[in-house]
Structure formats: C-alpha cells, structure tokens
C-alpha cells in the first residue's frame, strides 16, 4: 500500500523571518482522489487522445502524488532559507 504524503512543510525565511507552514494535505486526499477519477473524462472531452492514455493517466498521476512522500528540498543562504518537505 502506497500512502500519499499527509503533511507539506514549507518554510521560507528571510533573515530569520518569514513563513512557516505545516499544510495538512491529508484533508485534500478525498478531493485529489476525485480529481484523479474525473481527470480522464475531462481529457477525453478536451482533446482526442488515445484510450490508453485516458485510462491510465489518472492512476499514474495518483501514484506520482503518492511518491512525493519523502521529497525534501532545503536551500540555505546564510540566514535565508527555503525548505519544502512532503511528510
């Protein structure tokens, strides 16, 4: 079972001050699931693409989202910092 990330941590600091956010992505799980389910229908309506792409792009997107868990980007320049982490 692959679990999607539950929290997105964002920290953008400039000289020690700035934004520190813990975003509860788990609240969006139902919405994301719904988007993934209906995305192929919209794709089908908007452009003529192959059946394979329509059938599999939704689940593939969901898997990609789930695999974001563990992604961490941390850039520091003196007292400035940008930190993004999917937990």
């Amino acid at each position: 079972m692959i679990w999607p990330p539950s929290i997105l941590r964002i920290r953008i600091l400039e000289k020690g001050k700035g934004i520190r956010l813990w975003l509860p992505i788990f609240l969006l799980w139902p919405l994301i699931g719904l988007v993934v389910l209906i995305a192929p229908i919209f794709m089908l309506a908007s452009r003529p693409i192959t059946t394979k792409a329509v059938l599999f792009s939704g689940p593939a997107l969901l898997v990609l989202f789930c695999r974001l868990r563990g992604l961490r980007i941390d850039v520091r320049d003196g007292s400035d910092q940008v930190h993004i982490a999917f937990i």
Binding site: A53, S57, A60, L64, D74, G78
Partner: protein
C-alpha cells in the same frame, strides 16, 4: 554456524541429499552463506548536497518518484512530446524524449545504488551526489 545449516551440511556429506537440494534448503533457512557479502538494501533516496561557505543545498528525491515520473511520461501525447523535444533542442539540449527507454532508466536507477560523486574545491565548496 546455526544448527539447521550444520544439519543440512551433514546430510550432504552423508549423501542423503544432493548439492541442489542442499542449496535449496540453505536458501530456505534464510541466512546468507558465509564468505558471501550480505545483499545491499535498495536505496530509497537520491541525495544532492552542496555546501559552500554560506550556501547549503540539501535535496532528497525519492527514487520511486523518479520511476513514477518516467512512467507518467509515457502518457504524454505525441504532439506535446514533439514540442518538448523541439524546445529542448532550441535550448541546446539534444535529447529526444521519445527515445527514452523505461527499462534502461530502470537499470540506471538500480545502478545508482553504487554511485557516489564527491567534488571538493580548495575554497571549501563541496558537492555530493549519492543514494541512501
């Protein structure tokens, strides 16, 4: 040596079992044969560390994310892929996305386990790329 392994080897010595059977039984006991290095755990993340005097970059990318991204690339419509390839070419990157072989990429990712790049400069700048 565990009791199970000793018993299997004794059975082999006495001719009660064949070499192949002994091998199967040894595998079933779950231990790695002595002298053979233990199998390495598969790496989960690609790490990129850049340390400068004041600047630090620490990026951890799940390898499964790379795999999933490549799989998703297969669903890019042909005309979009052509445009992406053309744009890359215009920016000096001569890379055709349609030639991307998922199997080769999979082997490449597996091969990353043994890869480690360390670059250091006298000024104190270091770049490390490795899997963990």
């Amino acid at each position: 040596m565990s009791e199970d392994r000793r018993r299997i080897l004794e059975m082999l010595k006495n001719g009660k079992i064949s070499v192949a059977e002994a091998e199967e039984l040894l595998d079933a006991t779950g231990g790695t044969p002595q002298g053979e290095p233990a199998r390495k755990a598969k790496p989960k993340y690609l790490r990129v560390l850049v340390h400068d005097n004041e600047d630090n970059v620490d990026i951890r990318i799940p390898l499964q994310l790379v795999r999933s991204g490549i799989k998703l690339g297969a669903f890019i419509p042909g005309h979009a892929r052509e445009r992406m390839t053309r744009s890359l070419h215009e920016k000096g990157v001569d890379f055709d996305l349609s030639n991307l072989d998922p199997k080769a990429v999979e082997e490449l990712i597996d091969g990353l386990a043994d890869m480690s790049i360390d670059v250091g400069e006298a000024s104190g700048e270091t770049v490390r790329i490795f899997c963990e």
